[in-house]
């Protein structure tokens, strides 16, 4: 129970469904702020109190479990390391993967619980053979199945999302008000919880030492200097401060951040279009496809609030590239090129409303060739942080 309206209503619904429910608030910061301001902040004393008040009203026990050490290592430090490596991680996803449905679930199971129940907007459905599947929520506008795409079959079997069938968030707020929860009108939180002022660039700048390096064009020519590759994200246009204009006079965009050489590659907007993405670190959310090596139709979503795009996907061998027997990757080819794809992002693969699985993107192919037939847009074959 975060102290927000969703987890409070989810808990109340679980209680009413007849489950024996215990409210658990995760302490994720060693130094929680004292009070919330606006929608920002998380794990404050006030959030903990809000969660406890909701638990009191529904008459369930409430505890705070301290996962601050693991959160720092698995989510915060990982976020910094990924950025430093030129990738764009999603810390909420990492938290679901490593904390909420891993460390928390493990501890809960060991203490005698059967499942973790959260206020995520997603649905768990059961197929004809009794296998559980993860699906989008009825409330598409609030759907959070993307950030749950990292869940495995075992985790899904021990998860409950009581808000999945609710058509709108407004309905959840109304229900919270009817139940007398003080958090009924509490603002949604949008930001990365451990960067309470929302200034991600500034926060990263304090933690990753910026080093001056070159800005290159796609052909490898030096166009200028930057004062820290980490400050750039793929698709960025502003703040490049390149003296000489492009030959065609068109604006240039960040196409690639190469942390190892500390260089930033820029080029025309068209070159941002990505025709293929792939990742060697992939999981299936539930039962794996019977023949993932056979190309199958799907939709791919590359950000929490991006639209899903029709695509084909398959698991293919990368032995020819890596020189190691048995290495594979999940390769996804969207029907139309995608914009704004950066390594480190997660591609979630859907079949209809069902979340089939996901991969962390470690390789992209631009839709616009340079001098060679294909441009490998990844920084280099850097191993993805395991």
């Amino acid at each position: 129970m975060s102290g927000g309206v969703d987890s409070a209503v989810a808990a109340a619904r679980a209680v009413e469904a007849g489950h024996e429910v215990v409210g658990v608030h995760l302490a994720l910061s060693r130094m929680p702020g004292t009070l919330r301001t606006g929608s920002r902040g998380c794990c404050t004393v006030e959030d903990s109190m809000d969660a406890q008040r909701a638990a009191n009203i529904m008459g369930i026990p409430y505890y705070v479990w301290d996962f601050s050490e693991r959160f720092k290592l698995d989510v915060v430090d990982d976020f910094i390391a990924e950025y430093a490596a030129g990738r764009t991680p999603n810390p909420c996803m990492r938290c679901n993967e490593k904390i909420k449905f891993a460390a928390l679930l493990e501890k809960a199971m060991a203490l005698g619980f059967d499942a973790v129940c959260t206020g995520h907007y997603a649905s768990i459905l059961t197929d004809v053979d009794g296998n559980k599947q993860l699906h989008r929520a009825a409330a598409w506008a609030k759907d959070q199945s993307y950030v749950l795409g990292v869940l495995t079959a075992d985790q899904i079997n021990h998860s409950m999302f009581p808000l999945g069938a609710t058509p709108t968030k407004a309905e959840v707020r109304k229900e919270a008000a009817e139940r007398g929860f003080s958090v009924a009108n509490k603002p949604d939180s949008y930001d990365i919880c451990f960067i309470p002022d929302g200034d991600t660039k500034g926060w990263l700048g304090e933690r990753v030492a910026p080093v001056t390096g070159d800005i290159l064009d796609r052909e490898g020519n030096t166009l200028g200097q930057h004062d820290g590759a980490v400050a750039f994200t793929v698709g960025q246009r502003k703040g490049l401060s390149i003296g000489t204009p492009a030959a065609d006079g068109k604006p240039r965009f960040v196409l690639e951040v190469r942390p190892i050489s500390n260089t930033v590659v820029v080029g025309p907007k068209e070159a941002l279009a990505i025709k293929e993405i792939a990742g060697n670190k992939y999981t299936w959310a539930g039962l794996a496809p019977e023949h993932p090596e056979v190309e199958f139709a799907c939709h791919v979503q590359i950000r929490a609030h991006a639209d899903p795009v029709p695509a084909v996907a398959q698991v293919v061998s990368t032995t020819a590239v890596t020189g190691i027997d048995g290495t594979v990757e999940l390769r996804i080819i969207p029907a139309e090129p995608l914009n704004g794809v950066a390594p480190g992002q997660t591609a979630v693969v859907y079949v209809g409303t069902r979340v089939l699985g996901q991969c962390t993107i470690d390789r992209t192919v631009s839709a616009v060739p340079v001098s060679t037939p294909e441009m490998i847009a990844s920084a280099s074959p850097v191993p993805v942080n395991a």
Binding site: H25, A27, P32, C43, T44, V45, S48, M49, Q52, P61, Y63, V64, W65, D66, F67, S68, E69, R70, L73, A103, L104, E106, K107, A110, L111, G112
Partner: protein, 398 residues
């Protein structure tokens, strides 16, 4: 049935204290008023002060009622520090309650104090040699020494008289935090004052009185600067209309706690609690052989049993025992309900991992053999399951 074994956090109010509290709340009159209602309130207040003073073996004029034990500690420490200006040094052992830690740290950050932490041994006793050496470095600049009489977490009883003697030899005042000791071992201010103690803090709700009232015993010869200014009540040390009903209820609880009763024939209540505590200690040793008893095994609070359980989280044990109807504590301070690694165990030289497996079981006036039986019945299953849960919320290797 809920078995309550967290008396160090707060102990149930005595039924007589509740009745007296409720009755006194119905009595109108400000004890500072001149009319007869005021005089009646004043009489109730001063009778109560006398009873509380008797329980602490001090004079009534030496009892300054406060809003809490924490306020008493703040008044004792800040009041002495300010009264002793321009002296800068405050000498404090490492394992004090947060009421002391945070107060001296505040003085260091905001008011020029130099705090020197006196080390503890592995059982939690203050290192007297280190204290003597610290005093000797610059005795004229020491504003005060403050120490806990018995540790609220691990139960170790400190050599207060020896500490006081070292300080008194240099004319340095000593404040004693007796919040955890009061009601469990004799707190004899007259004897402590003779040894050199200047001020001593207690709280009513640790002895069966209400939350919301504590006291600073302030030797009649001792001067402190007030924290609160106003009407000049209580030797001008603690202004504010006095809480008559709170004092009356406090007195009812205190009347059960005379020094003689605690120390008397056969040890009275202290001995009864010590026997229960020893059953807890023996039972834990039998049922959870890996558990280590923290603190001094002999010179400890009679109601306190504090353990480190290897390989599991204290908060897992707490949760599982709570689910089984037994209320215990991890013993350390909470931030938003999060147990912090115990600074007391850290000050005693324990690793952070050891401090995560801490569990405190504390007994009080309502504790019985049946409570101990219930704990020892619930413990094996809870311990086995907590071990299975292990250190899931910790980073491996930490």
């Amino acid at each position: 049935m809920v078995v309550y074994l967290d008396h160090a956090a707060t102990t149930p109010m005595l039924p007589a204290a509740i009745a007296a509290y409720a009755e006194a709340m119905g009595v109108v009159g400000n004890p500072a008023s001149v009319h007869s209602q005021g005089q009646n309130a004043k009489r109730m207040l001063e009778e109560s002060r006398e009873i509380v003073a008797a329980s602490l073996a001090c004079d009534p004029i030496e009892v300054i009622f406060t809003g809490s034990g924490t306020e008493a500690i703040n008044l004792g420490i800040k009041g002495l520090y300010w009264a002793r200006a321009p002296r800068r040094r405050i000498l404090v052992p490492g394992g004090e309650h947060h009421a002391t830690l945070d107060t001296v740290e505040w003085l260091a950050e905001h008011d020029g104090a130099t705090v020197e932490w006196i080390p503890l041994d592995e059982q939690g006793h203050i290192d007297l040699g280190a204290l003597a050496a610290a005093i000797a470095r610059d005795p004229l600049d020491v504003a005060l020494v403050s120490l806990i009489m018995a540790n609220n977490e691990v139960g170790t009883i400190e050599p207060v008289a020896e500490v006081a003697a070292l300080a008194a030899a240099q004319g340095i005042p000593v404040h004693v935090d007796a919040v955890a000791a009061y009601g469990y071992i004799p707190v004899d201010f007259r004897t402590l004052a003779a040894a050199g103690v200047s001020a001593l803090s207690v709280s009513a709700h640790k002895v069966g009185g209400p939350v919301g009232i504590g006291a600073l015993v302030l030797g009649r010869a001792t001067t402190v600067e007030p924290l609160i200014h106003g009407g000049g009540q209580q030797r001008k040390v603690r202004s504010g209309t006095q809480d008559v009903a709170g004092a009356v209820s406090f007195a009812v609880a205190a009347s059960a706690l005379s020094v003689e009763q605690l120390a008397g024939q056969g040890g009275g209540e202290s001995a009864r609690l010590a026997a229960l505590r020893d059953r807890v200690i023996a039972g834990v040793a039998r049922l959870a052989p890996g558990a280590v008893l923290n603190g001094d095994p002999v010179h400890r609070l009679p109601g306190n049993a504090h353990f480190s359980f290897a390989g599991c989280e204290g908060d897992s044990l707490l949760f599982l025992l709570d689910a089984a109807g037994v209320s215990v504590s991890t013993g350390s301070a909470c931030q938003a309900g999060v147990p912090e690694p115990s600074h007391v165990l850290r000050a005693m030289g324990r690793s952070e991992a050891e401090s995560h497996g801490a569990l405190r079981i504390t007994l009080g006036h309502s504790s019985t053999d049946a409570d101990v039986d219930a704990l020892l019945t619930a413990l094996p299953a809870a311990h086995a399951q907590a071990l299975a849960a292990g250190m899931a919320d910790r980073v491996p290797g930490h």
